[in-house]
């Protein structure tokens, strides 16, 4: 190798004048940007932090003490199971490509088991930072594997969000099988539609910066379908069953908020101005939504509640997710306010009227938050953030239509797909916990453990 370099340099001494004469711009090999890569590694850790322990604490605090370990366990096993699913074929099906008529709908198996991805290869996906590779194709500035692992965390948190809908009454085996099937057949295709280069919604021009549709709408719809199909908890009397540990809820909401900086500001796949804008709007939308919710609480129900402020923050963070790379501070304030009011009405008034038991409001907060955010992205997207994208208020009504199409098709696909997978799991292995097990609590009946003991 060294001798080759020596030879080349000796030869090039003579050939320099010839080379400059022939090609004005010598090709530069694309290189890994260390700043972008460092940020992506940190952001990946942040997004993992959202599931464990963020979401686990948020949901675990909201259930009764007899079910808290079950919720923690569901979050934890999703991390393990979906990571395996992701490297086996999930990544390839989501972001890979295939030939033929299926190309816009699902990826192939080219990257199964992370085959054909070398450690110094650059990510084929990029948002704002790109460079021209030696083969003339544009590539990103981070290693391909950084993108694989970052997206792995998204694949993990999406099914974990659904836990909120069926908490406290699901059989663990049924839950695990359903979740893996859901990740394979619902998450992967929808991700491919919206984020992969071949995806039909991507080609249509759907704006989803960090997963408002892929993560929140997708999981939210699956949540309401599973909540309805699984039926109510045996003790559900049409109103929330009081949470067992609100301090957990606050810790969980706080960790989710921190993690969301990685979720949204990492989705630009670079450490640049766009990432900082995403971080800023994420923070502002979360704060505005939290404040709005707590004021509603205060005026309508007379007391500013702690669960209220936590829930409000999450609704704002969910709604800003698709918009993070497209709106500025004013958009973040509008989205935060609107989503908080709608989610409040949803969980306080509409849900009790409709009578379904979405235990922890996975649909009411994440689903509705995602839908509102994704549609408002089509309204508020500002050309001052990314010049190529604008929304209805800047005269681009087509963007709003595209957002509607993307949200609607995700709702239809996720809804029917969840229905089929749920029925299948129910028929083959059973999914509802027995009445007795539900009464004992899922900690004891499913895992043989209990969270709070009095042993010295």
């Amino acid at each position: 190798m060294k001798r080759n370099i020596f030879l080349i340099s000796v030869l090039s001494l003579f050939s320099i004048p010839v080379l400059t004469a022939q090609t004005a711009l010598p090709k530069i090999a694309p290189s890994i940007n260390t700043g972008d890569t460092s940020w992506m590694i940190v952001a990946t850790a942040f997004v993992l932090l959202m599931t464990i322990p963020g979401l686990a604490l948020f949901y675990g605090g909201l259930v009764r003490r007899k079910n808290v370990l079950n919720v923690f366990m569901q979050c934890f096993i999703i991390v393990a199971a979906i990571t395996i699913e992701w490297i086996v074929c999930g990544y390839s099906l989501s972001f890979g490509s295939t030939k033929g008529f299926m190309a816009p709908f699902i990826g192939g198996f080219h990257w199964a088991f992370l085959n054909n991805i070398s450690i110094n290869e650059l990510s084929p996906y990029f948002v704002s930072h790109s460079q021209i590779g030696l083969d003339g194709k544009a590539v990103g500035t981070i290693p391909h594997l950084a993108f694989v692992m970052y997206q792995c965390m998204f694949a993990i948190i999406t099914p974990a969000l659904i836990i909120g809908a069926f908490a406290e009454r699901i059989n663990f085996k049924g839950f695990l099988v359903f979740t893996i099937l859901w990740a394979l057949f619902i998450y992967n295709p929808v991700t491919h539609w919206i984020w992969s280069a071949d995806g039909w919604l991507n080609k249509l021009g759907t704006l989803d910066f960090a997963g408002g549709i892929v993560v929140h709408v997708n999981a939210g719809i699956a949540a309401i379908i599973t909540a309805i199909m699984l039926g109510k908890r045996r003790d559900y009397k049409g109103h929330a069953i009081p949470p067992h540990n609100i301090t957990y809820v606050v810790m969980g909401a706080g960790l989710l908020w921190v993690g969301w900086f990685g979720f949204n500001a990492g989705s630009g796949l670079a450490a640049d101005g766009l990432a900082v804008n995403a971080l800023m709007v994420t923070h502002v939308a979360g704060a505005v939504a939290a404040m709005t919710w707590v004021l509603l609480d205060w005026f309508i129900d007379k007391k500013p509640t702690v669960i209220g402020i936590s829930t409000g923050a999450i609704s704002g963070l969910a709604a800003i997710t698709p918009a993070a790379g497209f709106v500025g501070v004013s958009g973040a304030i509008i989205i935060g306010m609107i989503v908080s009011v709608i989610c409040f009405c949803m969980v306080a008034y509409i849900k009790p009227r409709l009578g379904y038991d979405d235990s922890l409001d996975a649909f009411g907060v994440h689903g509705i938050g995602g839908i509102i955010g994704s549609i408002l992205t089509g309204v508020l997207a500002s050309p001052f953030i990314q010049s190529a994208y604008s929304g209805a208020i800047y005269g681009n009504y087509k963007q709003l239509l595209i957002q509607f199409i993307a949200v609607f098709s995700t709702i239809i696909y996720s809804g029917t797909g969840t229905f089929i997978l749920f029925k299948l799991t129910e028929k083959v292995i059973g999914i509802r916990a027995s009445d007795k097990n539900e009464a004992i609590g899922l900690d004891e009946s499913q895992h043989g453990e209990s969270a709070y003991n009095n042993f010295d």
Binding site: H239, A240, P242, L296, D297, I307, F344, V347, P352
Partner: protein, 115 residues
């Protein structure tokens, strides 16, 4: 010897404790209890307001000599009173015997309060 078990408001616990100290009760045990009753307490979860029938109170348990019964009862009655529904109840039991484990003394001598 008598055992007094009193269900009192949690918010009145400090008052009752001080009144008992003033009466000369040096040691008693207590624990938190939850009851179900006709009266309800308002609860708010995520904007939904609903009535919860769980009532949280504190139970205190004291064993006294017969001659101290009345003044102990008075102390509790005066200090736990607010006049609103839900102030609590007092139950009085006869105690057959008391034994102090360390010295094996029995009878009223074995109580914490020497008089």
């Amino acid at each position: 010897m008598k055992k007094i078990e009193a269900i009192i408001r949690k918010s009145k616990f400090e008052d009752v404790k001080n009144a008992l100290y003033d009466t000369g009760i040096e040691w008693f045990s207590y624990w938190d209890i939850t009851g179900l009753g006709k009266s309800t307490e308002e609860q708010i979860v995520r904007g939904q307001v609903f009535q919860s029938s769980y009532i949280h109170r504190r139970m205190i348990s004291i064993v006294v000599r017969d001659l101290n019964l009345d003044k102990t009862l008075d102390a509790i009655l005066d200090s736990a009173w607010t006049g609103e529904t839900g102030d609590g109840k007092i139950f009085i039991y006869d105690i057959q015997d008391t034994v102090r484990i360390r010295t094996r003394e029995s009878g009223p001598e074995a109580l914490f309060n020497k008089e």
